[in-house]
Amino acid sequence: MLAIENTLFTIVMLAYFAAMILYFAFIAVKKEAVARVAVALQIAGFALHTAALVCRGIGAGRLPLTNQYEFATSFAWGLCLVSLIFIIRYKFPVLGAFAAPVIFLIIGYAAMQSKDVKALMPSLRSNWLGFHVSTAIIAYGAFGVSFVLSVIFLLRDRMKASGFLDQHIPNREKLDMLSYRSVSLGLLFLTFTIITGAIWAERAWGSYWSWDPKETWSLVTWIIYAVYLHLRLRRGWRGRSAAIFAVVGFICVLFTYLGVNTWLPGVHSYA
């Protein structure tokens, strides 16, 4: 099973890479047929990615959500899922051109991690861990999409007006709205993540909140996105300022996910 997973993982990486190139080509040659192939390729990659995760789950005999490799590949999976939802639902293939590099970077990071299946230490053997990490994947995926949308928003102002642009990139108001929808999804799931994490910590360590760096940074991230929501309600803060906040928020997400493990010690250091 793990051998199958390994092969699938390589194919998935190639598929995402090809999708990324095709999305770029779509912007370069401005042909919708190219975009359709790119989306189809991303969908195929996503399906295989799902299969790879299932294989790993079966091979390891548990949810594939417990170490750096598994979380990185799942993070890429979540971002792929949420971006596909936005690409298809809002007919927005240009989003793919910006999301695909981020997905490719994350899955590339996963590829550099050790793929060994290690036996779980007792504290990690909990159903709450499953809820905790799977909600985190959706939250991070959604924040990733809002980051990408905000970058598009910020770039759109600098791009020259053209028919292609107007046809394929939503106007500023709609971009802002889409970013808001994805932050909403992210914040809802991040709240789930924090609550399930607290419940798990209480059962495993006897304390539901102990200001461990990872907990603290998830709170910082949560607050940043809460501020984003409030700023949007104020006149004059929609659009550009909100977009900048969404970018900062995603930097916090990345720091919570990578920086904390690398630079700050804590109970979360192993995952």
């Binding site: 036996a119 007792p122 798990w200 006897g206 940074w217 910082v220 409030h230 010690p265």
Partner: protein, 427 residues
């Protein structure tokens, strides 16, 4: 008076909330970058003396329990409470108004479309409830429907949840009691200063084929010796599976090494106890004579310049690091291999039978359920605020018998307007 009013307004304003939230985020970020609960000496070695002095002065060494951190949180709570209280009457009024046609029919909506032949079908396509017939101000026929007014309450419910959460956490921090009890099977220990005694009935370490640990389990019995309070009972406690007994919660927390200590006087055995690493034994026969088991190394190695350590968890080369005190003065300290003895005056001490002890954490926090409820209410509020979008749609009959359709959704924005236009086009 106006000053006071302005002050209230500011204290309950969203501007203040945003400022507080940003300060809180910055404070958390800063505190997470500085290792917490270290001494001045530690900080001055790691950074510089000036930085260390600054850290101590600002209480950044224990930021999350410092007065300023608690003050920010308290301000946040006051801010939230006032905001929610002040907005409540307005919110009730608005909820009523939004579900009735009177207000809406006067408006031009966020978007409108003339010349609609079949307004009821348009309502259905917009996924609105069946519209109710009513009259516009000028007496024309009108239709009106509102949906999801509960969404108006999202922010309010979310803020209430955050208040409950902070309240539950804060009260918990102030009133919680925590104890740690450790020992080996057969031992009975008092739980802190309570009237309850914990007996360790059994301790098991389940390992997998590869030798890794799958689970630690302690069977415990708790007895309440006071005449009041809940009676005790027995339970199995393992990692991720705490148990509640005597109103306290028991967690499997850690494990470590213990050893049997035998004391002989003039060659005759006088005392025998199992002592956990870090614990001591007081020799009953001689007041002030104490034997401490500082550490146990199952696979002892001594590296010059580094000190003693263990090469593995296997009992390949067991060694006991002990110290002996008399009247508070250390009179001996050494590492002892198995079968070796220590002799002081007419007393001889041996260490043997290394075994693992269990550490059970005991906690009483009555406010955990409040914090959990707060978290769930916050979640519900977010769901309402972000996913339940109130909308109103109404139609007014034109002179030619067709209808003008209007729609309004504060939250829906561009997406609502897009759906509205689509619903009109679809026909």
């Amino acid at each position: 008076m106006t000053m006071l009013k302005k002050f209230w307004k500011f204290i309950s304003s969203m501007r203040f909330a945003i400022a507080l939230l940003l300060i809180l985020a910055l404070a958390c970020a800063a505190a997470s970058l500085i290792p917490q609960n270290q001494t001045y000496e530690w900080y001055s070695q790691r950074y510089s003396e000036r930085t260390a002095a600054l850290i101590m002065a600002l209480r950044l060494d224990d930021a999350f329990h410092s007065a300023w951190f608690i003050a920010i949180t308290a301000f946040l709570c006051v801010n939230l409470l006032l905001c929610n209280l002040l907005r409540l009457p307005q919110l009730i009024r608005r909820t009523r108004a939004e579900s009735r046609p009177e207000g809406a029919l006067k408006l031009s909506g966020d978007i409108s479309a003339p010349d609609v032949d079949d307004p009821e079908a348009a309502f259905a396509r917009l996924r609105m409830p069946r519209p109710a017939p009513c009259k516009a101000e000028d007496g024309r026929d009108a239709l009106f429907a509102a949906r999801h007014t509960a969404g108006l309450w999202g922010a309010w419910v979310c803020h209430l949840g955050i208040l409950l959460l902070i309240l539950g956490f804060g009260l918990g921090q102030m009133t919680q009691k925590q104890y740690a009890v450790h020992g080996v099977p057969g031992q009975i220990r008092r739980i802190g200063d309570t009237a309850c005694f914990l007996s360790i009935d059994d301790f098991r370490i389940d390992t997998r084929e590869d030798g890794s640990v799958a689970q630690y389990t302690t069977d415990i019995t708790v007895e309440n010796t006071a005449s009041v309070g809940p009676a005790g009972g027995s339970a199995s406690v393992s990692v991720n599976h705490p148990a509640v007994l005597c109103g306290m919660k028991f967690y499997q927390n850690a494990t470590g090494w213990a050893a049997r200590v035998d004391v002989y006087k003039d060659g005759a055995p006088i005392q025998q106890e199992v002592v956990c690493a870090g614990d001591y034994l007081s020799v009953k026969d001689r007041e002030g004579l104490v034997v401490m088991l500082n550490a146990f190394y199952p696979d002892y190695v001594m590296t010059p310049g580094v000190g003693p350590s263990t090469a593995s968890d296997q009992l390949n080369n067991p060694a006991y690091l002990y110290s002996i005190y008399y009247q508070g003065q250390m009179v001996g300290m050494n590492a002892l291999m198995a079968d070796e003895k220590v002799t002081i005056d007419q007393y001889t001490v041996t260490f043997s039978d290394p075994q693992t002890y269990t550490l059970i954490q005991v906690k009483v926090d009555r406010f955990t359920p409040l914090a959990l409820a707060g978290g769930l209410v916050t979640l519900l509020g977010l769901l309402l605020a972000l996913y339940v979008q109130p909308a109103r749609v109404w139609a007014i009959r034109q002179d030619d018998g067709r209808w003008t359709l209007y729609g309004q959704s504060r939250k829906g924005g561009a997406l609502f307007r897009e759906r509205f236009e689509k619903a009109i086009k679809e026909k």
